[in-house]
Symmetry: C2
Subunit: 362 residues, 2 copies
């Protein structure tokens, strides 16, 4: 039993107690096979008795490897990151790595600063939706292995959601429901994902002979979605795809407040499948990003890099998205081509039996 009185024991204490040199103790732990099996076992026993644990800091100094990775998130309070964090943690822990979580608080400056302090502490970095410029990221990337999430930066390996395919599924879904014009409610212009999604939407509507219109940009939040309401009223459509779930939720609330019914009057599709998506009313139809898998993949690839693997030069690693159909989308009502929200008295939607989930969301 370890008594927690004094300082924790070092390899020297173990070495003395076991009657060997400190280097042998070190090797017994760090270099299996380099030391005689019996000796190693004896050392192991003595170490256990003394309650010895190798000090990661001291180990890191000569080796230069800390077994820590940094995960930088632009905003921890955004539920979008929850599963990413968890996936990343899982992959890191599994590989014996500790995760240094940093919240950039939506500020490129804070992100830089935090990174500056962390960079010498970690073996690699995952940047989830960084707010920094491409060049700043490349700067970091030449000091330590870096993986960016949901973004493409030249010369820096990345992991992204397959937005085009996900968007395609969403458009097909709306098309099957009879919608002909789709409004895209745009997120931040600086967002790589936003550009990709809009582009994919245009291609999809073109192929399927539908029409798309874009409004925005807005903040990628509930408030931002609500703000889109005004513009939407000017270009009424029966179907909307929002940049992300938060905005979709905000928009639905605004629509409802204005007297429109979702999905009867307007179908709304979100992106990301965040936790709250299935909690809101109506439950949100959304394109589910493989959040957990993304976090996991990012970390795994990062660790591969730290072990000296060459980054794949085939562009970003793309993970499949799935459409989760819930209750915010429905058939377009033919007799209601040009919705006049708010003019008809709302009679209330009966409890929907639905919430059919087309694809498992996690």
């Amino acid at each position: 039993m370890a008594d927690a009185g004094a300082k924790s024991p070092t390899i020297y204490d173990v070495a003395r107690a076991a009657g060997v040199a400190s280097s042998t103790v070190s090797r017994a732990f760090a270099r299996p096979g380099r030391v005689n099996a019996e000796t190693a076992e004896r050392i192991r026993v003595v170490a256990a008795e003394l309650g010895y644990r190798t000090n990661p800091l001291a180990r890191a100094l000569p080796t230069g490897r800390t077994s820590m990775i940094s995960l930088v998130i632009s905003d921890v309070t955004n539920p979008f990151y929850n599963e990413i964090i968890r996936g990343a943690q899982a992959a890191a822990t599994e590989a014996g790595y500790t995760t240094l979580l940093t919240d950039a608080q939506e500020s490129g400056a804070k992100e830089r600063e935090a990174l500056e302090r962390a960079v010498s502490l970690v073996d690699g970095i995952v940047l989830a939706t960084s707010r920094m410029s491409d060049s700043a990221i490349r700067m970091i990337a030449k000091q330590r292995p870096v993986i960016v999430l949901n973004r493409a930066v030249a010369d820096v390996p990345s992991v992204v959601t397959d937005n085009p395919r996900g968007m395609r599924r969403a458009v097909e879904h709306l098309g099957e429901l009879g919608h002909e014009r789709i409004t895209y409610v745009a997120g931040p212009e600086a967002s790589w994902a936003d550009g990709t999604r809009w582009r994919a939407l245009r291609e999809a509507v073109h192929d399927l002979d539908l029409h798309a219109h874009r409004i925005g940009p807005y903040e990628p939040t509930v408030a931002g979605g609500a703000a889109a309401m005004a513009d939407l009223a000017r270009h009424p459509t029966s179907a909307v795809i929002a940049y992300n779930d938060l905005m979709a939720i905000g928009l639905i609330r605004a629509l409802t407040a204005a007297g429109a019914r979702v999905p009867e009057d307007v179908s709304v599709v979100g992106f990301d499948n965040i936790f709250a998506a299935e909690l809101v009313t109506p439950a949100l139809t959304t394109v589910a990003a493989p959040l957990h898998a993304m976090g996991q993949t990012a970390v795994r690839n990062l660790l591969a890099l730290t072990r000296g693997a060459r980054p794949t030069s085939h562009g970003p690693v793309s993970l499949p998205a799935q459409l989760v159909v819930r209750a915010s989308t429905a058939h377009r009502r033919r007799n209601n081509t040009s919705p006049a929200w708010g003019t008809t008295k709302v009679s209330g939607a009966p409890a929907r039996a639905s919430t059919s989930t087309a694809a498992g969301s996690r």
Copy 2:
């Protein structure tokens, strides 16, 4: 300009370039005043030119202080922790500390393991809703300063929500609405908060001449709340207080599915005021824990401890909770004493104008 070619420069490089001894460089950074102002300035300039940054690892070895703290969370995906994390991060960053976020994934074993690896890396630890036993926590606490959140452990300083007062407000609110019997939907038995809340509820109903009944325990999740439905149907009441928001949301969904209307037939109050609480329909009336402040306070107190402050022996630091009144609570309908859920056809609730927030939630 720092060229990112070679290894990062050390104090020796700076010392040589500035024509001083390495110790002087060290002191110029770590011991202001110990070195002549001019010399220090010159060193500073040279260091900047070389792109020198002090290596936290190397510094930690001799000093024993890493400027890192560990924040252990029982489940990062639980939105309850979002603001706590952020508050903690903010306080840590402000003090120049880096946060090591660890997700215990609801497992006491994983928590221990993670802690074991982290303990030698950090100057202090915040345990948010730990799954470990009191004695295990005390064990950790004698190796490093520890602050526990939302729990009382003898001899270990803690920060908690003022549950009794919050519960009292909730009961008063329901009482004012005419409810006479309140059902408490319990969370995990092992939860310290659960016990505190139930006790507070009993006291409050006693003082106000109301009645309380307890069902459970259930999992503190949406599914757990839904599971409570069955038991609730057996003891119908017009008012329910759930252990937390997630359960309240689950319960509301189950009630709605069963044909009961919230809040017309049943008023529901949650705890925590998580992000989704205002997004669901009806928006949830809930007791808002000062999440951000808790994270912040925990870290500040922890850092005070690492600086050698004696822990306050006055028991846990208690932070005030506030009641946020939204749309899930309403006047009890006198003619509906014994609700027969599901027998009457639901006609649908008109869009509520409400969502009145009695107290700012953040």
